[in-house]
Amino acid sequence: MVQPLTYFKESASQTAGPYVHIGCTPNFSGITGVYDTDLGSGPMVNDQTRGERITIRGFVYDGAMTPLKDAMIEIWQADADGYYNSPSETRGKADPNFFGWARQPGDMATGEFAFETIKPGKVPFRDGRLMAPHVTFWVVARGINLGLNTRMYFSDEEEANAADPILSRIEHRVRVPTLIGKRDGNTVTFNIYLQGENETIFFDI
């Protein structure tokens, strides 16, 4: 016998189901009068927010290349200087005018999601090297048993992407573009493919 390790097990995940929007974005789902606004809806910036304004747009596609219309997408990102607005951010203080988190349902008719945000700054990797600017994505929906984590990097950051400690160690280089949002003006297009030839890289974080 040895001393027992007294750890609990994480609660098992279950799908968000078809009605996740009732719980997380009720106004979007047409149930008004309970919450003033849906948490994480609307622009992530105000007049005082520092940084370059961008809009991230995209779809989540299933294995039959049909866009999901019942997904919920959350993003989490650093401010323009690379600081997170979180108590666990100990390197410095983030822009008080940038919360850094948002959630969107896909458009009811098309499934398209859109985030009005800023381009994040660089955040250090564990060894101190800088990671290229990126936005963390979390996708849940009916049929997804455990939320999927991925990252969106930026197509106009070729040099930083090449030096990024995570992108650079991905063995199958042909898959790396699935993590790159394509920038055109102030719009960054980032489609997520759950399956298929262009299946997005998902991370076990």
Binding site: F8, A12, P18, G23, D62, G63, V140, I170, F203, I205
Partner: protein, 246 residues
């Protein structure tokens, strides 16, 4: 929030044998929505070990009372009145303070208030079916609701969901983000549900079944069910002077 310094260490690796796999053909919708390639492992960086914190200012007075939060003045939702309470803890058993917990459910007849819902059971005009709260400094939370009904759903020809409440939980880091469902002690529908059966481990399923708690039941008012939620733990800081990242 407790007046202790925020933790900055990475989270324990997620046990992927414990959670349902992505591809679970018994739950048909997962077939085309399950990634087929291996996940790429990524030890937590600042991007994963930080996370948003929500203040109590987002909460309305009745956000944690589904019996009245959608009801007309003076009226209440129909159904078995229940109190759902518990703690959000992490794998080390520590309470997760300040965690936003959101919940949603069908009404007593098993009907959701949703455009795409087609079940013939009626809507309850006094029941919206959702709420939220923020955990106290020990991770405790509670809300009042009515017990949701079971309902049929299009998967197999005759598949039914057990009575359940959906939970969405934020921890202290974005990597702790979790959505799960709570089931009710003694419900025979649990063990024949294709969504429950996506979970391979029977003990993991039992961990999602709330216990009837007569001690916290309010006499002549509502029964209590206890439901603890466990989020990922994080490594201890044994050595404080590491350079960067933790």
């Amino acid at each position: 929030m407790k007046n202790t310094p925020p933790e900055t260490t990475p989270f324990f690796a997620r046990d992927r044998e414990w959670h349902p796999p992505a591809f679970t053909p018994g739950y048909k919708t997962s077939v085309l929505r399950s990634p087929q390639r291996a996940l790429i492992s990524l030890e937590g960086t600042k991007s994963e070990i930080t996370g948003p914190v929500f203040g109590h200012n987002i909460l309305g007075e009745f956000d944690n009372d589904l019996i009245v939060n959608y009801a007309k003045p003076g009226e209440m939702a129909l159904g078995e009145r229940i109190l759902v309470y518990g703690r959000v803890i992490d794998e080390r058993g520590r309470g997760v303070s300040g965690a936003l917990v959101e919940f949603w459910q069908a009404n007593a007849g098993g009907r959701y208030r949703h455009k795409k819902e087609t079940y013939l059971a009626p809507l309850d005009p006094n029941f919206g079916g959702f709420g939220r709260t923020i955990t106290d400094e020990d991770g405790g939370y509670a809300f009042k609701t009515i017990k949701p009904g079971p309902y049929p759903w299009p998967n197999g020809v005759n598949d039914w969901r057990p009575a359940h409440i959906h939970f969405s939980v934020f921890g202290h880091g974005f990597a702790q983000r979790l959505i799960t469902q709570m089931y009710f002690e003694g419900d025979p529908m649990i063990w024949i549900c294709p969504i429950v059966k996506t979970i391979p481990d029977e003990n993991a399923i039992k961990g999602l079944i709330a216990a009837l708690d007569m001690q916290n039941t309010i006499p002549h008012d509502m029964r209590a069910y206890k439901f603890d939620i466990v989020l990922r733990g994080r490594r201890s800081t044994f050595f404080e002077n590491r350079k960067e990242g933790n």
